[in-house]
Symmetry: C3
Subunit: 463 residues, 3 copies
């Protein structure tokens, strides 16, 4: 039996399944638009081959690492390199074996579906991964990874990617992007992610702002320097900015207040409340600059980062211990919307990990304010049930056209086609139910399916 | 192809669909009980014909206006009259064209299903509305609207309405209701909605209380005057009061405290915290008066009204920029329930826009306190998914008999049969699933279906 | 028609139903592991016959009492004995008649499904309960209850129970458990539930701590005494502790601070904020002790107990007026997880009544921290929709293996097989959908089904 069934993720009910398959068939081969993600631009610049299976699948993937940790494995035993030079597992085969032996932990998770897709569709492996097949599958992957076909630029073409965005530090020189543009016809664009220079409590704030301001660290110069950086990103192909913050809090402060907070922040003397105000005002500044330079503004709030200080200190950021928290939007965004909510030249894409906000806050907000669009189900919600909940919760109030299609949001390059395929199957299944229940006609559903898979991401991100 | 399929909104699965259809067939022709809504009593008093299609469908409907605004249209361009005499679109055909051209925005929304119903069932139009058909459909509607068959009293009979409640200002003389009673056998009853005299921060509070108290503005006289007004409403047929508040906060203050707050409020000197206490106590007074006069008390909390001050100042209230917020019930209602929760002669119907409260707060509260009943899925949740979520969330804890059937809650008269039809189809579908899963017998489901569609609203509102 | 259909609770769709039935068939006869419940150990020690139908089904069951109260019946009329010697109904037939006459109130609730199961499967009654059949059904139950077959030890065997945990006061001498062990081969184990000695605002705190400390009430001795009690419980077979608290708040205080708070508490002078800190620290102490003695720690937070002070004063605790409230986990548990989150020898099982936390907080926490597992859908959520929501919400992030199977959590002994049967049917139905949608293979689903029904509860509770 092949691992992947052609009807996977479609509803079981025959009438609806037929409709879903028919809708899916019309969108499955559309080019991939990937307007938000975390692949490394160096990969494309150097046209790399990925390393061994452990380095490819496990060590950098916080979804996998966290699940294995939840059953008692340590980061170090999974090959995650400690910052403090304590020992860690270096043998990729040993790491792979842990993963294979525990692959049942991922039953029912999207991670398993993505990996099964990659093994089956990309590596053409027919066997199921488990303890018994671990070694032979390792060997197949390992040898294919070394081939020319598996150099990233070839994979980019094979996957049918039309454009992919990376996420980049605000002070980045974007040299990889430059090299890519000079050498290659693939479209890899940067995204301006200024968290480290906007959140005064970010551990690199002072350093990065110093770098940004080139030793002229006044608030005015700081704003000017940000604006310059945005324009540089735009010249290098960027179409968007991205803002990760604990809450989508916005506030309007006076210039004088901001100067005072800025000076405190640069001395490392700002407290939590002040930092919140500073960042709240800077989100407004980002909106203002977006109106000027046309970069689409993305807001990704609501994550308690580095919930375990032990893991943060020993292994650093993004190691699987980021936990979502309640995230209020209606009051938090009001100052921003009061000021800029009706602007013609502004687009703000809102994300959430707090799926209790879909019906109550996000759909009503996006269903009125012209500047707002809803990003797709994100991170822990980027899953069949999560994506379905998103559609079932927001469509009735915001429709389809205040959403922006799919984001794969991944650093796992090989999973990109798997993720887009899943999203297309789930959207097809949702639409199929509406058709089967005579809430949409087939013609309407076809139009929407194509818009969700291709036109909306393109248009929403000005691509 | 006709726009409406007979099986619309029923589950696709054949077994369940058959059951749903059978249940629906037994309730589809039951009279409409409409115990909560916002149609204008003047319409019935004058037996009006509605104006042109734009004035009928678009301009007064905040569901439509908000969605069109979300894609960049302004209120003024949609014919909403500014308060400040700035220009606005007056040509109904131009407004209609915008709507028709953008009708795809409503795909997947209940608004589209309601309008399709109205076009198809009420105007007998077979064509789908879009840019191409806009003009011819406009003409059909426009000419039918002028006919005798489309005078509202004839439509009332045609729709099978048994009773309909309007919502009325506390100082209203109810002259239209008087005229209706004198002239006609349709049952149009008022509902006492005292927000403007109970919320000290309401922009008309001082004026309305002055009017209410006829210049004898003491707190004692204020309470007496409210009681009198309630009795007047009751004489005019009212069976209920309705309370829109930001939170369902209740509090018990002393007479002296209330007098102090009342005096402050009448001088325009009350602050937010004080206003909250005042209103919290007044909700308790409303409950006390309900025990005396038997009016059913409805609480509709949880809306951040006029979220955009620009729209509020330029166009006024109810223009599509009301956004739900988190709404706590367990602690907020405790003072009220401590005092009156076990009263035999009191019924309180709770609504919410915060559907995260169904399982956790509202079903457990209504599943114990004898005075409480749950109103149906409201406003943004008055949709197929929203209504289904309501049943799936509350039934297991509160059963069916602590709910009150359906409210159409609309000012769009023509949509009333469409809304009741949708609710009946969704309830039939929910019950059909329970039958198909052998959680209810067919006989039990039939009883419940009829109770939800007809008996429960009648009994819950003492009709 | 028999009351119970063999396919009850399975999805209607034929393909999925077949899969569900096949999965269910493999687990339906597995022994019952009941690691958390509230049956009375005296019953097993004395090998009792249950009293009359009213005393068995209605009076002690807060699910039933609350629903009947919601429609206007009083506790006293339902046979609940007032603490103040005011009159109450003593005729079990009258109480039974109220219940039978109102049995339609339970349509669509799990309570009705449980009771139908008990009537049909345990008492072999074929008739539906209603006003007409009330008397004859009463008589059948009443006479069967008196038979040898209905003595509890025989029922225990008949139900296929392998082990059942009671819940016990911290100062209990566990004499019933001792007698059970000495006399009988059934496995009835205690669970250490120290709320009354850990929550300084518990009405028995001072008394119980005095008893615990045997008049040596210093904080140090208090801690030692708790540790001793835990060891005693463990010797008597306990595998777990259980903690009911308003919030899962944890905090680390100094020894000196705790001594101060303890002294205040013992004088009845502790305030709410201090009590919260005290209890927050004691939860940490409980975790520390669990690492030492190996007892699994259960946390059951989020209930506003005794919401009606009238009912509490007149009838006492657990009378159906406990209402869930919002319950935050990410910040509340952080001190505990910072300190003990990566311990090898600790297992903490988290429960919630706040189902809005599943996707956002609980699944992400349990999907990372090795000490955490998620308890099943609890109390108001222990229902077909509630259990399904649990699986649909947590599986994609936490998988199956960070959950612990089913808890019946009941004091209604006869409902135990009904509840496990419901849980097995719902899990089979959930898994069947995943199989039908090709998200799991049949083989994988079978493994998971057996683990959920039998292996996970056994392993999670160290049984």
């Amino acid at each position: 039996m092949a691992i992947l069934n052609d009807n996977r993720l479609f509803p079981a009910e025959e009438r609806t399944r037929e409709i879903a398959r028919s809708l899916y068939n019309q969108i499955k081969s559309l080019p991939i638009i990937s307007p938000h993600g975390h692949t490394d631009p160096a990969w494309y610049a150097e046209n790399i081959n990925f390393e061994d299976p452990a380095a490819l699948f496990i060590i950098p993937d916080h979804y996998l690492v966290r699940m294995l940790c939840s059953q008692g494995y340590t980061h170090a035993s999974l090959g995650v390199k400690p910052l403090d030079n304590t020992p860690y597992e270096k043998d990729p085969r040993k790491i792979w074996d842990i993963f294979a032996k525990n692959y049942h932990l991922f039953l029912g998770t999207p991670t398993r579906l993505w990996i099964d897709y990659v093994l089956s569709e990309i590596f053409e492996i027919e066997e199921e991964l488990d303890e018994g097949s671990a070694e032979s599958i390792y060997n197949i992957i390992d040898s294919k990874l070394k081939t020319k076909e598996f150099r990233i630029r070839n994979l980019y073409k094979r996957f049918g990617i039309e454009v992919i965005s990376t996420t980049d530090e605000p002070n980045s020189a974007l040299t990889h992007h430059k090299k890519i543009r000079d050498e290659w016809d693939g479209r890899v664009i940067p995204c301006f992610r200024p968290d480290s220079i906007i959140d005064p409590l970010h551990e690199s704030f002072i350093n990065e702002v110093d770098k940004l301001c080139r030793n002229n660290t006044t608030y005015t110069n700081y704003l000017d320097a940000i604006q310059e950086r945005r324009l540089f990103f735009k010249e290098m192909g960027a179409v968007s900015t991205d803002h990760g913050c604990l809450e989508p809090y916005t506030a309007e402060l006076s210039n004088k207040q901001m100067q005072g907070l800025f000076d405190k922040a640069m001395k490392g003397q700002i407290n939590h409340g002040e930092a919140r105000e500073f960042q709240g005002h800077m989100l407004m500044e980002m909106a203002r600059m977006s109106i000027e330079d046309g970069l689409v503004m993305q807001i990704h709030p609501g994550v308690y980062r580095n919930h375990s200080s032990f893991v943060f200190k020993r292994f650093g950021r993004d190691k699987g211990v980021d936990i979502p928290v309640e995230t209020e939007y209606v009051k938090a965004l009001r100052p921003l919307l009061e000021r800029y909510g009706h602007e013609k030249d502004l687009k703000i894409i809102l994300f959430t990990l707090d799926d209790t906000r879909y019906t109550r806050e996000l759909a009503p907000l996006a269903g009125y304010y012209p500047v707002l669009r809803l990003g797709p189900a994100w991170w822990f919600n980027d899953s069949p049930e999560g994506m379905m909940r998103f559609r079932e919760s927001v469509t009735e109030t915001a429709g389809f056209y205040n959403t922006v299609g799919f984001n794969d949001d991944t650093r796992a390059f090989l999973s990109i086609p798997a993720r887009h395929d899943m999203a297309r199957r789930v959207d097809a299944s949702y639409l199929a139910r509406l058709v089967a229940e005579h809430r949409l006609s087939m013609k309407q559903a076809e139009r929407v399916a194509i818009d969700l898979a291709y036109n909306l991401p393109k248009e929403s991100y000005n691509l």
